[in-house]
């Protein structure tokens, strides 16, 4: 597997230096790559503050790692030549959470699309540009005549978000980094937008990194998933295995907290009121970050960081519960991602 975009032992620290207590390790020694040959659909999930957005910002090159490297085609993204940088900017396209913030309210919506075309010199004439745009809009399920000539405020949230996906499409990227692309749109549109991401992956061969807190949609559209907790990857692997049969106690907590759509009132227990907040032990952990909330905490968890244990063929979990299972030589988590399509 040749990696197109790669994180190598990347750590990102925000705030104070040294022993300053405001120091936050947003991403803690993560290594993984997105393949050049096989288009993948990977979910990065976790609660707020788990480092999932920082991870995608590092991949985009808008944040620089504190230690470690972000590599594009094997080269550090901070050291690319002008030509290479342009290729990088074209190959890796972001889609953000807020489809309102990216538009300039003084320009019509299509301005954004024409800009992308002129920046990358994708069309020779305005007519050709127009045709390109129309095609991209149709791919994401929009009627071009409903978009052209409209100002951003005249479009619905779902339309605005889909225009953003169309923009990402026009430049023909190889990777789309979608950071919570549907958390601000309605349930009825959510399905439509996620479906268009899946079409990009299946039919156009674009790799998608889907950053989300919503395990249900991740389960529906992705093949592989990384579960992050306070900057570390705690479980990684095939989404069917991870969601159907979570192995790490944190993943188990997350999956059990998803409200299931059945009227059985599984939640009506007072015990749920502080489930997973603490296990009653107040102690600073130098090992596993989940130690103070974990119901299965053992002495070694407080002192030693658990490695990723291989639990089954396509999955690893970073928990001493699996002690005895094999541990890989490298910490590259891509090895547990099954890259079938």
């Amino acid at each position: 597997m040749t990696p197109l975009l790669e994180l190598r032992n990347v750590t990102k620290v925000f705030g104070g230096r040294g022993f300053d207590q405001h120091r936050v390790v947003a991403v803690d020694d993560v290594t993984f790559s997105i393949s050049k040959d096989v288009p993948s659909m990977i979910a990065v999930a976790g609660e707020s503050g788990s480092g999932k957005t920082t991870l995608s910002r590092l991949l985009l090159g808008v944040d620089s790692p504190t230690t470690g490297q972000v590599l594009y085609q094997g080269k550090d993204v901070r050291k690319l030549s002008r030509v290479e940088r342009k290729a990088f900017l074209r190959d890796v396209q972001p889609i953000y959470q807020d489809p309102f913030g990216v538009y300039n309210p003084f320009y019509k919506a299509e301005h954004l699309l024409f800009t992308a075309i002129s920046k990358f010199g994708l069309a020779k004439s305005r007519d050709q540009a127009h045709a390109l745009i129309s095609e991209a809009l149709e791919t994401v399920g929009l009627r071009p005549n409903e978009i052209f000539g409209r100002f951003p405020h005249q479009l619905s949230g779902g339309q605005r978000q889909r225009v953003m996906i169309a923009r990402a499409l026009i430049v023909k990227p190889r990777i789309i980094l979608a950071d919570e692309p549907v958390s601000m749109v309605d349930a009825s549109l959510r399905a439509t937008i996620l479906e268009s991401l899946r079409v990009l992956n299946r039919e156009l061969g674009i790799s998608v990194l889907y950053v989300t807190h919503d395990l249900t949609t991740a389960y529906q559209i992705c093949q592989n998933i990384l579960i992050m907790y306070r900057g570390s990857v705690v479980e990684v692997g095939d989404v069917d295995h991870v969601i159907a049969n979570p192995q790490h106690p944190y993943t188990q907590l997350l999956v059990s907290s998803i409200p299931r759509m059945r009227a059985t009132r599984d939640w009506e227990h007072d015990a749920n009121e502080d489930v997973g907040s603490t296990n009653g032990v107040s102690r600073k952990s130098f090992g596993c970050k989940f130690a103070d909330r974990c119901p299965h905490v053992k002495e070694q968890c407080w002192t030693t960081q658990p490695p990723l244990f291989q639990v089954d063929d396509n999955r690893a979990s970073s928990c001493f519960l699996h002690q005895g299972a094999s541990v890989s030589e490298t910490n590259d988590i891509s090895q547990w991602m099954d890259s079938k399509t």
């Binding site: 339309q159 309605d186 349930a187 395990l215 389960y219 409200p259 939640w267 907040s277």
Partner: protein
């Protein structure tokens, strides 16, 4: 459950703009029983939050309650003067919003904020009594006594949302309106906060109106679900029926668009089309342009909310011709 606590009769709320009146709530009628948990769902702009705020009478211009009645314990809220209404809020009907946790005053300790509302309602108490009351309020929402002396920035989102809930339930209101109380929280915290809200409801036997869009959450919490579309209530039935056998085509599509963990879907299906502009409402059923089962009659006659089976109401022509009791909601 003894009798209705809240009765909304043919409520109309308009947003008055230069372009015309936006009919945000367009003839909503419903009854809330004592101790009942009712959920209101719908897309953004369906009028669910506007309905909730109308009950609190907290709508600000350009929003205007045009007509209708809101009876709280038999008294019409809309006929009250500002002072009467102020006394009703918190005492009889309280609101917890999504932004509640951001509405705490950053420079006021939690204990002062908890008792602020009480003082507004004339509860001036001795220091000891006050301290005891604060402890009781915190215990009620499952927070430690130490929280009393803390400030909002020291609390997590879930804790702040609980403080807001403690404030809202301090005077044992008859109706608690929870407008997306957990949409800003992580799933684990959401489960905790909803469990707290559920227990509070059981302990005080208050009625709850939960406004939301997460069908899973609603299934876990509500007794009855009302689906709103374009300012109207189009489907209203007990939660079990709503999930297993929704009546209105819109409810069915809404439920089908929710991804589940139970089985992997080959294709995710949204609801095609967009909600109608609420300024010039077309004739007939407002959902017709998006409805897979639209008939000729739908373009002409607007269906009204009708009892189709016992306890199960829907506004759709699919049901009004056969096997219905033809009983229009008053």
């Amino acid at each position: 459950m003894t009798g209705s606590v809240l009765e909304i009769k043919d409520l109309h709320v308009h947003y008055e703009t230069d372009a015309g009146n936006i009919k945000a709530v367009n003839g909503v009628s419903l009854n809330l029983q004592r101790g009942e948990r009712l959920a209101l769902v719908g897309e953004s702009g369906s009028g669910k939050t506007t309905t909730a705020l109308a009950i609190m009478r907290l709508l600000k211009p350009p929003a205007k309650i045009v007509s209708g009645e809101i009876l709280l314990n038999g008294r019409n809220v809309l006929a009250m003067n500002e002072e009467e209404m102020r006394l009703m809020r918190l005492d009889k009907v309280a609101l917890v919003t999504q932004a509640a946790m951001n509405s705490l005053n950053p420079v006021m300790s939690i204990k002062d904020q908890l008792t602020d509302g009480l003082e507004d309602h004339g509860y001036y108490e001795s220091k000891e009594l006050r301290r005891a009351r604060v402890q009781e309020m915190l215990a009620r929402v499952g927070l430690n006594p130490e929280v009393a002396d803390m400030y909002p920035h020291q609390l997590s989102g879930g804790m702040k949302q609980r403080v807001a809930m403690a404030t809202a339930t301090a005077l044992n209101p008859d109706v608690i309106i929870a407008d997306e109380p957990t949409s800003a929280l992580d799933v684990v915290v959401q489960r905790q906060v909803m469990a707290t809200l559920g227990r509070l409801q059981r302990e005080t036997n208050a009625s709850v109106i939960l406004v939301g869009h997460d069908m899973g959450l609603i299934a876990q919490f509500a007794d009855r679900v009302g689906v709103m579309y374009a300012g109207k209530l189009v489907d209203l039935q007990p939660v079990q029926h709503m999930i297993e056998n929704p009546l209105h085509p819109y409810s069915r599509l809404l439920l089908e668009s929710v991804p589940t963990l139970e089985k992997k879907q080959e294709k995710l299906i949204g609801i095609p089309g967009i909600t109608p502009a609420l300024i010039n409402l077309p004739r007939g059923c407002l959902f017709r342009p998006r409805c897979p089962e639209a008939m000729d009659v739908c373009a002409e006659v607007e269906p009204s909310l009708t009892q189709i089976y016992p306890e199960r109401w829907a506004a759709c022509h699919l049901f009004t011709d056969e096997n219905s009791t033809q009983e229009t909601n008053a």
